[in-house]
């Protein structure tokens, strides 16, 4: 076993950078000229496009725009500061933190699959004390709302960590990761409606910040769990976390992932995620945050129309690191295409009957 973790934060290094008093880094500003977006994406909004109101409201939480980055797919944001203008993001979800430091699972931790990937990272993190001390102050100064993702082994740990995040300065909301397939007890609260409702209610009572519940798709009825999260008082519901999957090396007659089973993400799961958002939207009035295989502004619009008030970009950050900026550039024009003047107008605008 590894000893207690060192801090994982990448920090400024060497001659090209200097540390300021908070240990944060200063550098040359983001250079949009050096960054070109995939050709398939629309160019930035033309000046003729009408003003589009990108603000969205998730219960007690108001965000400047609906483009967030998903937990576990954006590191602690420092890694991205050279590639992405962090202040433009609607919200940043740093990697899930746990009460104690965890070394994570043994390699191999990821394997590519058709249009997707499996991961079994296993919540590799430095623990909440290190997070609050070293990562949160940096994150809080980036100009984007910070939604802290937490995972407890027990209800008590969830409640304790919610309170800690609420007491620390800098976070805008808490996301309860009750859906991690890669740790034992990771999904207990995400598959049992009674446990889910109690947990959300207890965290809400212990924490001054808006509470978001992140659900797993690996359940018989996503609507039921969404209702439980709503009954517990969740400000918003994020869905989905990864779908359980597996990869086998038949020649060696072994599983490829060190942890045998992992979570599938990427474009391969987008239809599953859309279905979950749609079903949850039918079942609850709590605002939804769509996650799963989103890779372009078209994908974002599909989720919004299906019922999501906001989205989180996940795996796509790995293979197109500047995608969030491209999506933000293209979003107003996409909203305008539907004749709307704001995101909120088109949320859940799916037409079920043909006219």
């Amino acid at each position: 076993m590894a000893r207690a973790r060192r801090f994982h934060a990448p920090v400024a290094h060497g001659k090209a950078r200097r540390l300021d008093s908070q240990g944060c880094c200063r550098h040359a500003p983001f250079e949009p000229s050096a960054t070109r977006y995939p050709l398939s994406l629309a160019p930035p909004t033309s000046p003729a496009a009408p003003e589009i109101d990108l603000r969205i409201t998730l219960g007690r939480l108001t965000l400047p725009n609906p483009i967030l980055v998903a937990s576990g797919t954006f590191g602690y944001a420092r890694e991205m500061e050279r590639l992405v203008d962090l202040s433009r993001l609607g919200g940043i979800l740093p990697k899930t933190v746990t009460r104690e430091a965890r070394p994570g699972n043994a390699p191999w931790r990821t394997v590519e699959t058709p249009s997707g990937m499996l991961n079994s990272i296993g919540l590799d993190n430095d623990g909440i004390d290190a997070f609050v001390e070293h990562h949160l102050p940096y994150l809080a100064a980036r100009g984007a709302p910070i939604i802290v993702s937490i995972a407890g082994r027990t209800a008590e740990e969830f409640v304790e960590m919610s309170a800690m995040v609420g007491d620390a300065a800098g976070a805008a909301a808490v996301e309860l990761n009750i859906s991690c397939p890669n740790v034992s007890h990771g999904v207990d609260f995400g598959v049992n409606g009674v446990l889910c409702e109690k947990l959300v209610a207890a965290c809400r009572a212990a924490c001054r910040l808006p509470i978001i519940a992140k659900l797993t798709p690996n359940v018989t009825s996503i609507a039921e769990i969404a209702k439980a999260a709503e009954a517990g008082g969740a400000d918003a519901i994020s869905l989905i976390n990864t779908c359980q999957g597996m990869a086998v090396d038949w020649r060696r007659q072994r599983p490829i992932l060190g942890n045998v089973i992992g979570g599938l993400s990427g474009p391969a799961i987008k239809p599953i995620a859309l279905r979950c958002v749609y079903q949850a939207a039918q079942a609850v009035t709590t605002p939804l945050i769509g996650i799963g295989g989103i890779a372009s502004v078209d994908d974002v619009m599909e989720f919004i129309v299906a019922g999501a008030s906001a989205v989180q970009l996940g795996t796509v950050n790995f293979y197109n690191p500047t995608v969030s900026m491209a999506v933000l550039d293209a979003l107003p024009a996409a909203i305008a295409t539907l004749g709307a003047t704001g995101v909120a107008e088109v949320v859940g605008s799916l037409q079920l009957k043909r006219n």
């Binding site: 000893r3 060192r6 801090f7 990448p10 920090v11 060497g14 991205m80 990937m117 197109n320 690191p321």
Partner: protein
């Protein structure tokens, strides 16, 4: 700059090098065969070329599809210059083994490929008398730029970076057979002394690259006034053998790891390797941001 010094230099115990990175669509200038299943692809990417240093890598991703989904890390082979001697782009050498490289072999001049970089730390630039580079198979790719710079042929990276200098640069290059031998003319043209060995004796000496290395170290031991450092890249078991040999002989050794990577920029935590900490315990570290170059003695093999 080696990862150890940066760990001392910052309180969070982690290095971070993506501070030069940018994402860009690069035009393919040429894609030429060097040896059996081995190609050199030349990209036009001036801003990347200006920043990249030996031992760093870039991520390459084919455009217009989602399978393969992820980019692949590929080491800097060399930069190429325009008529005025300014870096105009980068060369990458790859072996066709799987999903991405088999498609990469099909790309043509004028095609566009997505890339982000430069990434990773690169090799140490601490001056040394004799730089011994040890390569197994396609693991030779980082050593053209490294050897070229060491011998004063070209300085890489931004002006603030200190270039590596050595009196002598030797490449011990082990291949399975002569068909896979690639780029030897490039290495020799840069002034690097190339010692080839092959598993089947079809080229160079028959035997393992570690035998050549052992002889060089014997030779070096007769001249204690000469400082020696090993830089190694290749299959894991070969790197492990070289690391043990270096530790046994008390010679400084760096290894460039080829851990599978999903993002290359530190955000996915898939590329971890067990790295020994100053207190003797190991911890998982991300190869893409803490490496890919590590001091051999830091790795828990």
């Amino acid at each position: 700059m080696s990862s150890q010094c940066s760990m001392e230099a910052n309180p969070l115990g982690a290095a971070y090098y993506a501070d030069q990175a940018l994402q860009t669509s690069a035009t393919i200038v040429e894609n030429v065969r060097l040896a059996s299943g081995t190609y050199r692809v030349r990209l036009e990417a001036p801003e990347l070329a200006r920043r990249v240093a030996p031992g760093q890598f870039l991520m390459l991703r084919l455009t217009g599809g989602s399978d393969p989904l992820l980019g692949r890390p590929l080491a800097l082979y060399d930069t190429w210059l325009d008529a005025d001697g300014r870096p105009r782009g980068v060369d990458v050498v790859y072996l066709v083994v799987g999903r991405m490289t088999s498609r990469l072999a099909q790309v043509k001049a004028g095609d566009v490929i997505e890339t982000w970089g430069p990434l990773g730390n690169g090799f140490s630039t601490e001056p040394v008398d004799h730089l011994i580079m040890v390569a197994g198979g396609i693991g030779q790719t980082p050593f053209l730029a490294l050897g070229r710079e060491a011998l004063g042929g070209r300085d890489y990276g931004e002006a603030v970076r200190r270039p590596l200098r050595a009196q002598r640069a030797t490449l011990c290059y082990g291949v399975r057979n002569v068909d896979l031998l690639a780029g030897v003319d490039d290495f020799r043209a840069a002034g690097i002394d190339v010692r080839v060995s092959s598993d089947d004796g079809s080229v160079g000496r028959k035997g393992l690259v570690t035998e050549t290395l052992g002889e060089l170290l014997d030779e070096a031991a007769t001249d204690p006034g000469t400082s020696v450092r090993i830089a190694c890249c290749g299959p894991e078991r070969m790197m492990e053998a070289v690391a043990h040999l270096a530790i046994q002989r008390g010679v400084a050794c760096e290894v460039s790891l080829e851990t599978p990577m999903a993002c290359g920029i530190g955000i996915c935590f898939s590329c971890v390797v067990k790295v020994r900490q100053p207190d003797g315990e190991w911890d998982y570290k991300r190869t893409c941001v803490e490496g890919p170059v590590f001091a051999a003695k830091q790795i828990e093999w």
